[in-house]
Symmetry: C2
Subunit: 368 residues, 2 copies
């Protein structure tokens, strides 16, 4: 057999020979989704114009698309993330939006366009990462678009379903609700701040901290189980994933709900690796943790009286969340610490204008 590293098959061959193992057996599958009657009638293995679902019961369908940055995916360019890893990340990013709505994924479509230089083995790795992330999220890669382009381009769409009307919006937060997050934020942003400048810092991080930063990119987990629990009662009055960073997420929930928030500084979970990167950068750890960072925790609000039973349901599945503040009837986001109040630190993500280096400029220098 010829070495795949030296092979550059055309698109029909890649679909037929390299990808088919990841796509086989999809069609005519009954999907087990919360008792909802959904059947994948034609999957990617059917090689038709579209994927086809047969839906028997009333339900709510959610769908979203996310592009992920190819060449600006700097850790991939540096060789720290593999082709498998970025395929995996593509799916996690798309499924995260489904999780944020409290829905269960029923399929992912992937757009994988590649330059001539991408050989069969590397192409196969991208598709293997996509496949693995779908499997880990309990879903399938049901279609998309494979072909060439000037450079690697990865985009996706995820579909999910939930019981009728049980969808979690960003707009339902009410004054008095608790503001919560499913885990520490900012690891992915800290990784991007650290690795490209690694050699310019006076010291490097311990191996386990570096591993944790990289792992956050390699195997991100969309919070599907958490989202489903939050939609069950529903517990969450508002919910969003933190893929724009925690500060931007909080601001968007505030804006959609017409409320303010008061965040308790000491309650915001900051991973020790983020602490260490902030120290090297000489910025405030909390600011780094809340700034642009495309990780996939869920930020949500819950009525105080519902929080205990919500936590019990989480615990029964080995899950947890952290209360980081409360919703106010104002229109600002404030951070309180030892009865001193100030605006939320960090730089909210705005695409063109976001540069994590702005952190240094805005940081008050109050490192912890």
């Amino acid at each position: 057999m010829t070495d795949e590293k030296e092979q550059y098959s055309d698109e029909p061959s890649r679909v037929r020979q390299l990808v088919s193992e990841f796509l086989s057996g999809q069609s005519e599958t009954d999907l087990e989704v919360d008792g909802l009657d959904v059947r994948l009638t034609l999957g990617a293995d059917a090689k038709d114009d579209c994927a086809v679902y047969d839906i028997a019961a009333p339900l709510t369908l959610v769908v979203g698309s996310d592009y992920i940055r190819g060449p600006r995916f700097i850790l991939h360019e540096m060789g720290l993330l593999s082709d498998f890893d970025i395929g995996y990340y593509l799916v996690a990013a798309n499924v995260s939006d489904i999780a944020a709505m409290g829905a269960t994924p029923i399929g992912v479509l992937s757009v994988v366009r590649y330059p001539h230089e991408l050989n069969d083995a590397d192409f196969r790795q991208v598709m293997a990462g996509i496949h693995q992330a779908c499997t880990d999220s309990g879903t399938m890669n049901v279609g998309g678009d494979i072909g060439n382009a000037e450079r690697l381009i990865l985009s996706g769409t995820a579909l999910g379903v939930c019981r009728p009307g049980k969808v979690l919006r960003r707009s339902g937060a009410r004054p008095g609700d608790l503001l919560c997050v499913t885990g520490p934020c900012g690891l992915l942003g800290a990784a991007v701040a650290y690795f490209p400048k690694r050699d310019t810092f006076p010291t490097t991080l311990p191996a386990d901290a570096e591993h944790r930063l990289l792992h956050s990119w390699k195997r991100p987990r969309a919070r599907v189980a958490e989202g489903r629990l939050l939609a069950r009662k529903p517990y969450a009055t508002a919910c969003q994933d933190t893929s724009d960073g925690l500060k931007a997420t909080i601001e968007q929930i505030m804006q959609a709900s017409g409320v303010g928030v008061r965040v308790t500084e000491n309650n915001v979970p900051v991973d020790s690796a983020v602490h260490m990167v902030a120290e090297l950068m000489q910025v405030e750890p909390l600011a780094l943790a809340m700034s642009a960072s495309s990780d996939f925790q869920l930020a949500f609000t819950v009525a105080p009286e519902d929080a205990p039973s919500c936590r019990e349901e989480f615990a029964a599945q080995g899950l947890d969340f952290i209360v980081i503040g409360e919703v106010t009837d104002g229109d600002t986001a404030e951070l309180v610490s030892d009865s001193v109040s100030r605006p939320l630190p960090g730089v909210a993500w705005k695409h063109q204008k976001t540069d994590i280096s702005l952190l240094a400029a805005e940081s008050p220098g109050t490192q912890r």
Copy 2:
């Protein structure tokens, strides 16, 4: 007001100020789809993580994704297609896959990533083209991903629904069925073959022929009405859009259905502009018409006894189709002309290896 040609707003501003007029009033819309009970609960105007549909009745859902070539979109690079035009094309390409399944579109998600050089006015034109094409297809741009990238990247996803089990596959063609197409193919491929080399040909085409070639790219029409009619009885035993060119489409239907086809040379509709380009290229017109050309006719098969009433239903809506051959129990595609038979001419689209210039090499030189 500042000139948008000189403005480069960040992504939240673009979404808020430039795009909102195209997205307003979507949420809480009952979609009228063949009596199926589908409601767009959260559209793009809701600015949540996903678009949300509430589905009450049993139905079949179809979904597909198509990326369109940004910088290799050569007619756009040459200034012959505007930013509006490529936004329009993106939607037509995606809705065409829905039409090919016999479904009615219920929404399009668009991924629009742009370089820093794309000013607000040009960005707005891309979104306006997307909006117009959605409107012309009877649907809405319900979400997607807007943001920056190294260069313009356009990708999309379309969703559609049809009555349960009424979906049109590629796999149902049976020997004896008629092979049909909804209109002439190859205009888009001919345009790409002609304009970049326009100055190297001994003559140029008449203005009306040039207009027709360009218009095929500027305002492609996804054959939604035709697909819906073909799914009604259903009339079509197999159906696919011709976005890979007619030859590739026929080969894919053959492969999916396990049949052969016999195409009658004189019945294949060839636009006079395609004829003229083929003459300039010194290739066979039929070969050019059947080769890689990303247009959006539907190729389908229908039982001979169903063809008359199918044609009546088409005519009642001002539509038509052309019978170009028949399905055989063989496994080859042959072209018959005056009782002489030969393989189908043209170069089927295969991404990496497709180059329309191959036509010159494979053409038997039998120009008409």
